[in-house]
Symmetry: C2
Subunit: 432 residues, 2 copies
C-alpha cells in the first residue's frame, strides 16, 4: 500500500513555516507498513490542491492532506477536496454540532466565521476533532459513496486506479495527530500485502563518513535491509529498513542488522528510535536513583531545560544555576573573582569550580557545568567562538573537558552541541 501526503498552506511554500506534519504522518504510516512515496506541499489555491489530489491517485492508494481546514478565508482544502471528488460542499449538521460543543466546553461564544468549518464535501465522513474546531474529512473508497460510486460503476473517479481513501486533517499538529490515531491508524493495520519495518540507532561523538566506512557492506544499495545514515545536529541516525512478505522474517532481518551495527559501533550508539541523549541520561539516573544539578553559563538554561523535558524529571533533577554574569558565578557558586579575572570566565578552572561547588551546594550525585563562548562575537585568538569547557563532578572528583566546536557553527548550534557533549560525558560516566 502506497501513500502520498499533501500539505496545504501558502505559509509552507513561502517558507513562513516548516511542515512537521508530513514527517509525523510518514513515521506512523511507515510503521504501519505503508510506503510513503512522496510529500507534496502547495499553497492555498483550490485548483492546485485539487490537482495534487488527482495526481496522487496515479501513484498511491491513500492521500492524506493536512492544513487548510481553519475558519479563515485562506482555508480552502474543503473546496479543493470537493472539486477533486466532484461533489458539492454542504453544511453538515454533525460537524456543526461538534464545533458548537467545542466552544460550549470552553465557555466561549462561537464566532460566526467558524461555521464554514462545518461545510463538508457531500458523501464524506466527518471525523470529530476533540482538540479544536476543524473536523477532519474522510472519503473512503471502500465505503460505497452513493454520489460517487454507483453499483458496477468502475469509472467513478475515486475507485478507478485503486485509490482507497482521501483524508483531510487539520494543520495544527496536535489536532492532526489525535484525528489520525482515532480514525486513520486503525484502518491501516488491516491492510494486507508486504510488510516493512524500520529501526533507528542514534549515535553521538562519531562522524557520518566514519560510520559509513564501518558499515560499508551493510549500506550497499539494493540490499535488504536497506541501511542509511542521516546527520542532524551532530547526532548521526542509522536507519534500517527491512521488507518482505512475512512479518516474522522481516523482524529477524531487522534484529540481525541492529545487533551487528551495535556490535560494530559500541558506545557510540546512545539509543534507538526517538531516544535523545537527555532522555537516555534521564533513564539511567532514574534506574540508579541518582540526582543531578546543573551550573550553566553560555547555555543559559538549555541544559536544565533538556534534563526537565522528560516527564518525572523531579526524580533526578534537583536544581540549576544559570550563572550568566561573572558576579553570579561568584555570588551563587563561590568562584573567586580573581580566578575569573586571571583565567577568564571561559576556563578549565571556572568549569571545575562551578561543577564542584554546585554538586556540594545541592548535595547531588552529579553536577554538570558549562562555560564557553557561544558567539557570534566575543571570541579571540586564544579563546575563539565555539570554545567550551564542560565540568562533570562526581563523588570521586571533577573531570573537565575542553571542546572546540568550531566557528562555522551558529550560536544556537554551539549551545546545542555543548549541552549534548555534556550529556554524553555524563552518559558514558553512568555506563562505566
Amino acid at each position: 500500500m502506497k501513500a502520498v501526503i499533501i500539505s496545504c498552506g501558502t505559509e509552507i511554500v513561502t517558507g513562513q513555516c516548516v511542515d512537521t506534519n508530513s514527517a509525523w504522518l510518514s513515521g506512523r504510516l511507515t510503521a504501519g507498513g505503508v510506503e510513503v512515496v512522496a510529500h507534496v506541499s502547495i499553497g492555498d489555491e483550490v485548483g492546485r490542491i485539487a490537482e495534487a489530489i488527482r495526481r496522487g491517485r496515479e501513484e498511491a492508494d491513500l492521500i492524506l492532506i493536512t492544513g487548510g481546514l481553519g475558519p479563515t478565508r485562506d482555508d480552502v482544502t474543503r473546496d479543493a477536496m470537493a472539486l477533486a471528488l466532484e461533489t458539492p460542499l454542504q453544511e453538515n449538521a454533525e460537524a456543526l454540532a461538534q464545533i458548537r460543543e467545542f466552544f460550549r466546553q470552553w465557555q466561549r461564544e462561537m464566532p460566526e466565521s467558524n461555521k464554514v468549518q462545518a461545510m463538508i464535501p457531500q458523501g464524506c465522513e466527518v471525523i470529530p476533532n476533540p482538540k479544536g474546531t476543524a473536523p477532519g474529512i474522510a472519503y473512503w473508497a471502500t465505503t460505497p459513496n452513493p454520489l460517487l460510486t454507483k453499483e458496477g460503476d468502475s469509472a467513478s473517479p475515486l475507485t478507478k486506479g485503486g485509490l482507497r481513501g482521501v483524508i483531510a486533517l487539520p494543520g495544527v499538529p496536535s489536532e492532526m495527530k489525535e484525528i489520525f490515531e482515532a480514525c486513520v491508524a486503525p484502518r491501516i493495520g488491516k491492510e494486507g500485502g508486504s510488510c516493512t519495518l524500520i529501526a533507528r540507532l542514534n549515535c553521538f561523538g562519531i562522524g557520518e563518513a566514519r560510520i559509513g566506512e564501518i558499515l560499508a557492506d551493510l549500506m550497499a544499495r539494493g540490499r535488504n535491509p536497506l541501511v542509511g545514515t542521516t546527520a542532524s545536529q551532530a547526532v548521526i541516525t542509522i536507519r534500517i529498513l527491512a521488507s518482505g512478505e512475512n512479518a516474522s522474517a522481516v523482524r529477524t532481518l531487522l534484529d540481525t542488522d541492529r545487533s551487528e551495527i551495535r556490535r560494530r559501533l559500541g558506545v557510540a550508539v546512545f539509543g534507538e528510535e526517538n531516544d535523545t541523549l537527555h532522555g537516555i541520561v534521564a533513564r539511567l539516573l532514574i534506574e540508579r536513583k541518582q540526582t543531578i544539578v546543573t551550573a550553566e553559563s553560555c547555555t543559559g538554561g538549555l541544559l536544565g531545560k533538556l534534563l526537565t523535558d522528560v516527564p518525572g524529571s523531579s526524580a533526578y533533577f534537583v536544581r540549576g544555576y544559570i550563572v550568566y554574569s561573572n558576579q553570579s558565578k561568584s555570588e551563587l557558586l563561590q568562584v573567586p573573582g580573581d580566578v575569573i579575572e586571571k583565567q577568564g570566565a571561559v576556563s578549565e578552572e571556572v568549569a571545575r569550580l562551578l561543577a564542584e561547588n554546585a554538586r556540594r551546594a545541592a548535595d547531588c550525585d552529579y553536577a554538570l557545568s558549562i562555560t564557553g563562548i557561544a558567539g557570534p562575537s566575543g571570541g579571540s585568538t586564544e579563546k575563539p567562538v565555539g570554545l567550551v569547557y564542560i565540568g562533570l563532578a562526581t563523588e570521586s572528583g571533577v573531570e573537565v573537558r575542553r571542546v572546540l566546536l568550531g566557528d562555522h557553527l551558529s550560536r544556537e548550534e554551539i549551545r546545542d552541541r555543548a549541552c549534548k557533549t555534556a550529556l554524553n560525558m555524563l552518559r558514558i560516566k553512568l555506563l562505566s
Copy 2:
C-alpha cells in the same frame, strides 16, 4: 519566475526527520520574487528523484534539490541529476581538491569514501562548500552546456520548457544555506518579471478566528495583497503577500495593509518577520538598559534559555534560578517551607515570593517566575495539568497571573506557552 524544491532522503519520507531546508529556501526565494509552486520530498531512489526533476520542468524555471550529496551509499542525488540531465558522472578535479582541502584544514585524513563526493555530472558547475565535504552542483541552462545544448538545438531536454537551472545543494542546513547565498541568491536578484513582496506580523494572546473576524475584509480570496493567518505554538502569524509589476507600487500595497492590520490589532501584534517574543523583550530591555533575573520551576531553564538565545544577552540577563525541587525554592530563594506545604509549590504565593526574592537577590529591574504543572501527570481537580502561575516583579511590586493552559496540551507545549505568556507579560509592562 517559478521554482520547485525537491528534498531527497528516505529519512524524510519515512518520517525520521523533518525537512526544514525547503522552508528556508522558500523564504529566500519568495523574498527574491520567485514563486515557489511546490515542495516535493522523495526517498533515496535514483529513478524517482530523476523523475521529480523532469516533472519539475513542467511547472518551474528553477529546480532546487537538497540532500543526497553525502559520502555514503544512500546518497544518490548526483546519479539522479546525471540521469535527468542525460550526462555521465565524472570525477571532478576541482571538487576533489576542495574536499581534500577541507580535511587538511581540520587536520584530518580524508576517508576514501569521501572521494565519491567529487563525482559530478559532466557539464555542471561545482559550487565550493566551505563548511563541509559535499560540494553543490549547478546546471545553468543560460550557460551553454556543450554536452546538452548544441547550437540551435531547441529540443535539448533542459532548454525547452524554459528551465533555467537545476541546482543540487547539500542536505545539512548550514552548508545548504551557505552555498545558496554564495551561488544561487545572486543569480535570482537579476531576474526580471513580476515582483512579489511578503510581510509577516506576529501576534500573541489572541485567537486565530478572532483575528479572522477583525481582518475579514482584508482576507478576501483573490484580493491583492493576499492576507492569510497561520497558528503555530500559540503565535498567530499574519502573512501579507503583495504582487504586481512595479516594485514601488507593490511596496506601497504591502505597507498600507501592514499599517491597517497593526492599527486594528494594537498591542496583540508583538513583532514582524522572524521576531520572537523573547527577541522583542531582549530588544526592549537593551533599549532601556534594564536587567532581568528568572526563577523557574516547571519550565526548568527554558525561560533562561530563551532570554539568552539572543546574541549579546549578557547586557540584560544576569542570572537564573532553576528551583525545581521544593528544597531548592527554600534554600535558593527563601520560600518558607510552610508556604509550600499549605499553598502548594504551584500557587500564587510561591510565584510571588520567587519573583520578589529573585529580583532582590540579583538586584535586577525585573524578575520573572514560573511555577506550574507541566504534566502529563501530577494534576488534581483543583490544580489540573496546565495550571501555571507567573510572577513579574518590578520596583513597584509583584504582579501574579494565573493561567490555565488546558490539559489538551503536551508537556512541551505547556512549558512553551508558560514561557511565552511570561515574556508577553514583561513585553506589555515594558511598553506601558
